[in-house]
Symmetry: C3
Subunit: 147 residues, 3 copies
């Protein structure tokens, strides 16, 4: 890849991560399947999982269940993207997430609001339809639970 192609790949990966966030907060799981992840993507959110969830079907089932009935806001910031080849890249993103649980889930939930901060550590793969998130691991700086 020449320099222009690398810069284009970086911009495409930034737009990919923007779709990740926008579809997540819209609960557009079909968008995740078609425009964000690939068939064998891996997701590890250590506060919720001991092992990575593998495969887009399991990822959607997992996230859809955790976030059912919530209002969420997820923002990403300050990417560091490294293009390794024309089909492989890695990236780090700062993030903030806010989750509001509805009242009818309060009985099962300890918290009505969670606000957290951390970083995504990711790998990307370019498939025929474009760049996709191959693996995602979340690390945390801080989390605040509000009753």
């Amino acid at each position: 890849m020449d320099l222009t192609q690398k810069l284009a790949a970086i911009e495409e990966i930034k737009a990919l991560k923007a779709r990740y966030f926008r579809c997540l907060d819209a609960k557009d799981w079909d968008g995740w399947r078609k425009l964000v992840f690939c068939a064998h993507s891996e997701m590890l959110v250590p506060e919720a999982q001991a092992e990575p969830v593998i495969g887009i079907d399991r990822i959607i089932t997992f996230v859809e269940q955790v976030l059912r009935g919530t209002v969420t806001i997820h923002h990403g910031h300050m990417p560091e993207i490294a293009i390794e080849s024309d089909t492989a890249a890695s990236g780090i993103w700062a993030m903030e997430d806010i989750i509001y649980w509805p009242k009818d889930r309060l009985a099962q939930s300890r918290y009505s609001k969670l606000q957290g901060y951390g970083h995504y550590h990711e790998r990307y793969v370019r498939e025929s339809s474009g760049w996709r998130i191959k693996s995602l691991r979340l690390s945390r700086l801080h989390m605040i639970h509000t009753e």
Copy 2:
């Protein structure tokens, strides 16, 4: 446009939106007029308006009135910019806004603080002086009012 020119246009539109936010929080309406909007720009903030405000004069009058005496913080995140031609583009931005109303406006206002989250859906036009916001529509994920 070749790929390099497209990438340059995307970067220019990101810097345009940065000026939008910086001038907004500085209440630099002259900056909005000269460096952000064009003469016939349209703005639709559905929580405040039933119809779009059309024209830079009306946009400034509308926003200046709503925000008079406030401290505001507006941040944008995660752009998805699509260059359609060398003079037309569209974009989506995640956003967060925080508005602090001063005490002397509390009598007329129900709230002393508003914090909101959502997305801007925008169109851009390239004029002789550079890229400008042609239309802006805000959609909301959530809003929190604090007394």
Copy 3:
């Protein structure tokens, strides 16, 4: 520099600022020394300093002392980067910072949490090892102290 090289420099400066934030919140001062600042960098945080701190050793001493024992989250947004030559550039960034002081520092501190908003006004220099922050000045939109 041609247009592609300018776009590459802008992307490198964005990644530089991402390292600034990531190393700051990880208290990775060695990362600041090797990957973020240069030997004679200047930092001015007006709420804490009357004069700029000059030199990477003094910058690290100053910031390490202020933030000892804290949890911090710093996010940057909406850069406006101007490449002036192949070794000089300037930039403005919107920012948000959150600082949580630990309980054992509360006796010396008036606040247990500070949340602030503002802008970084920066100059960059390209050294043999890459772009570095030459000077950084913080301006504030708002600060909230919580007991």
